[in-house]
Amino acid sequence: MAMMRYAEALNQALREEMQRDPSVFLFGEDIGRYGGVFKVTKGLMDEFGESRVRDTPISEQALAAMAVTASMTGTRPVLEIMYADFMPLVLDALINQASIYEYLWQNVTMPFVLRTQGGGGAGAGAQHSKSLDSLVAHIPGIKVVAPVTPADAKGLLKSAIRDSQPVVFLEHKLLYNLRDEVSDDPDLLVPIGKAKTVRVGADVSIFATSRMVLESQKAAELLAQDGISAEVIDLRTLRPLDLDAIIGSITKTHHAVVVNEGWRFCGYAAELSATIMDFAFDALDAPVARVTLPDMPVPYAEPLELAVLPNAARIADAARATLK
């Protein structure tokens, strides 16, 4: 075990997987010499050379389509898209290319990973602060993960790289400096599709991913002060969902709050809510509550940005409302 930052844990995962498998290569903007704008790929060009760690032009649409076909033909590319806000540029590659070939063609696998980071709170404005989870989670055939701890970041990235299907790996700009214990066992993987109960509770279940797990944990503290026992589930994987974990928790608490930093209308929280209704309706004592970004752009000025981001107080309010 070693203490390290989330960004360092990701770096370690990339390094170990590149050492283990020569078909793994990295490409993306500013990832080589500079080591990535969030320093996730620091030192990797020096270690693995310019062929396996490539700085690219600003050409997201082509890069994503290239990741799809490079992965079909014998490599395991890991593409970094600097901000999740640029995901609209790569959606054609995911929706019209990656998601169809396994169905249409025999003997085709697409073991690529698309890493990106989203989320607000850094004053980066309306084009650099979004969480667009639902855009990618919407696509059949694409796995989507969004870890919050350094250990999960490492273990899930390793699983994603070894996976034979496309994985979109969602990071959060406010998590990169978070420090925690991480295993240095190069064979320790965190499985895709498994949620984690980060706080056990009896009255209400709060489901979240990425940075919203931290806000949910804070919300659980607030609720505890009111004598409400909240269970917090870190889904870790957005698709495929860990239905057993979701149903199991609701069967116990009978109340659910779903939290997502993205928009509300047709958002990831809406999908979670519908899924809970599909599979655990009989266990529910109240409608599922959603805590999301309001349906508007992320503003720049601090008081405006803070007003739109979901936070512990809003999550706790939603939990209290479901228990009324």
Binding site: E29, D30, G32, R33, Y34, V37, K39, D55, P57, I58, S59, E60, Q61, A62, D85, F86, A122, G123, A124, G125, A126, Q127, H128, R264, F265, A286, P287, A289, R290, V291, P294, D295, M296, P297, P299, Y300, A301, E302, P303, L304, A307, V308, R314, D317, A318, A321, T322, K324
Partner: protein, 326 residues
């Protein structure tokens, strides 16, 4: 000299460059003491491109900009006080603090607007040029974009249509040698991106981007061509980014030799030298002092201005949000 600026115009360009430089320097200081928000992309060293190119435009002409737009905003006549307050996230900003420094837009001034999706400014101006052509007016659209943005797919798509339809459009490629931290030689196999213009049957010119007069003359020719209906022009302005990519830049990729070399060609010094004989250094000092006072007043005013208060954006139904919780 064909399309040369008048002495008054030249002095006004000098003043505006000084306004932009002072603003960048004040923002740099404010960043150091934690009074700015988010990354700020300064354009120190590139002022002549934005100021020189916009000097030939009227308010009816449209400009689209990038994440590095301060010189474009000021050049197109957006009020320095509004710009400063917007960058500092104040209620009195051009966009009420909602946009921030990368996304400032001022419809009345024809600046719509900043764009932080790299390449986004290019089809944006192309659409405006299309609108001008459809409406049959003699206005033009101008887009600023970087050497990094030139590598996007939409750059090619836009230029192809601009050439095909002879759109009234001026492409200003601000070639500052880097896309974020990546040197242009790692982004493109050719040094002069303007050679691409041939593939779009488009006029092109390489210009010293640190010389406002050269920028003015090249742009004036391009704008005349566009107003005549003779199609778009690609102006490749060679310049250099003196302050790194942004205030969150960790540096280490720009060579000291290059910095020193380009510092000798600082556009403000080039302009001073060009004006010294005709207007005298005393007048220049006066103009510069005026610019400093204007920016400093704008900064003080912005710092004292109130922060915005949040309102849900429900002006039109697509933004309306279902009520939260149950």
């Amino acid at each position: 000299m064909k399309n040369a600026p008048s002495l008054d115009e030249q002095l006004e360009m000098h003043r505006k460059m000084f306004v932009v430089r002072r603003l960048e320097e004040r923002l740099g200081e404010l960043h150091k003491v934690g009074k700015t928000r988010g990354p700020i992309h300064r354009c120190d060293g590139q002022e002549a491109v934005g100021i020189g190119a916009t000097a030939v435009l009227g308010t009816g002409d449209f400009v689209t900009s990038t994440h590095r737009g301060h010189a474009h905003y000021i050049g197109k006549g957006v009020d320095i006080r509004g710009v400063t307050a917007e960058i500092l996230g104040r209620a009195t900003g051009t966009c009420g603090g909602r946009a921030g420094h990368m996304l400032i837009g001022d419809r009345d001034k024809g600046m719509i607007g900043g764009n932080a999706i790299v390449g986004g400014s290019i089809p944006a101006a192309t659409g405006m040029a299309l609108s001008i052509q459809v409406r049959g007016t003699s206005d033009v659209a101008m887009c600023f974009f970087g050497d990094g943005a030139a590598q996007t797919g939409i750059c090619h798509e836009s230029m192809n249509m601009a050439g095909l339809w002879k759109l009234p459009l001026v492409f200003i490629l601000e070639h500052n040698q880097f896309g974020l931290t990546v040197h242009h030689s790692v982004q493109s196999p050719v040094a002069d991106l303007s050679i691409r213009a041939a593939g779009y049957a488009m006029a092109a010119e390489i210009v010293d981007g640190n010389d406002t007069v050269a920028m003015y003359r090249a742009t004036a020719t391009a704008v005349e061509r566009a107003r005549r209906g003779d199609g778009p022009t690609l102006i490749e302005a060679k310049t250099y980014r003196m302050q790194g990519f942004s205030t969150s830049d960790m540096g280490g990729y720009q060579s000291e030799a290059d910095l020193a070399d380009w510092n000798r060609r600082d556009p403000i010094q080039v302009s001073r030298l060009a004006l010294a004989d005709s207007v005298g250094t005393e007048r220049l000092d006066q103009v510069e002092a005026g610019a400093v006072a204007e920016v400093d007043a704008a900064v003080e005013e912005a710092l004292a201005a109130p922060l915005p208060t949040f309102e849900l954006f429900t002006r039109s139904s697509p933004y309306a949000t279902a009520p939260e919780a149950v």
